[in-house]
Amino acid sequence: MDILQVSGIALTGAVLAVVLKQKSPPMAVLLSIAVGVVIFLLVLGKIGAVVDVLKQLSDRADISSVYLGTLLKIIGIAYIADFIAQICRDADQGAFATKVELAAKVLVLVLAVPIMVAVLQALLRLIP
């Protein structure tokens, strides 16, 4: 039933935003941000179950929890950046959206560097 709630919030927000956009565009942007945050918060609690399953699977596969943590951090960075970039684009601020995406890419790469080093070391060890 959660999807009904989310759909209702989104539909109401969309209708209100369309009406507001003609009279007061800044308020329409604020409304879209608010609706986005509310939907994000509604779904946030459900992610815990998925993360638990991922943890169990990684334990079963003997994958270090550090790796899984890094991966989840990267996914979180990507989602937040995507979310903010879309809001910026809705507000006709494409430049900001690009900058946010750039920052997210840099952060993802920074998190990925130690993993790359680890893979490289392991591969080099394979060579006799």
Binding site: A61, I63, L71, I75, D82, A104, A122, R125
Partner: protein, 223 residues
Amino acid sequence: MDVLRELIQTIIVIVVLAVLVEMLLPGGDMRRYVKMVMGLLIIMAVMQAAAGVIHSDLVRDIPAVTAVDSGAPPLDDIMAAGQGLAREDRELAVQQYSKALSGQVLALARMNGELQVLDARVTVDENSAIEEINIVFAAADGDNTPSSQSAGDGARQADQDAGGDLGVQPVVVDIKGGDVAGKESPAPAVTPEQERAAAGQAAMVAEFYNLRRDQVKYEFRDL
């Protein structure tokens, strides 16, 4: 055979995990980047599983993946430094509080003009509670007793001036201190009136600060 079966099981779990994680990936431009990192992680996981099966140290000494912050000191050092600073500040505050209380006690003790108060020291514990108060009185004020005399000197003086103004033998404090104490710093001569007045002042201070009587001590010292 068991080893191979275990390896295949692990790889299947890794593949399922990868598919699950891929479903979580956001759309848009960021997807490519996250997929790249995820691919690396899958490579690592498979290699780790393979290394575990063949008991190899292939991926044993992997660098810490969370050590991406550079320049900042470790958290333990920061916490230890913070605790040290807090301890120093607390000690400083206790010192200042003790100093202020000493001044207060000194002023309080000087309100009664019977005795000359030289010094007051307040010992405070870590919880800012008063542990002990030491009040130093002048041994002789020049009117009632022979001034600036030690106990031994006072006794000699009394012998010489037998039948003096007071006609009372000065209290010889050597009885308490013994010979050794007497050699180093002879106790000052204190009259019973002074002793009584000092005890009264100490009791007054103890009552003022709501302390036990034995927490307020006093001593006499030559001027």
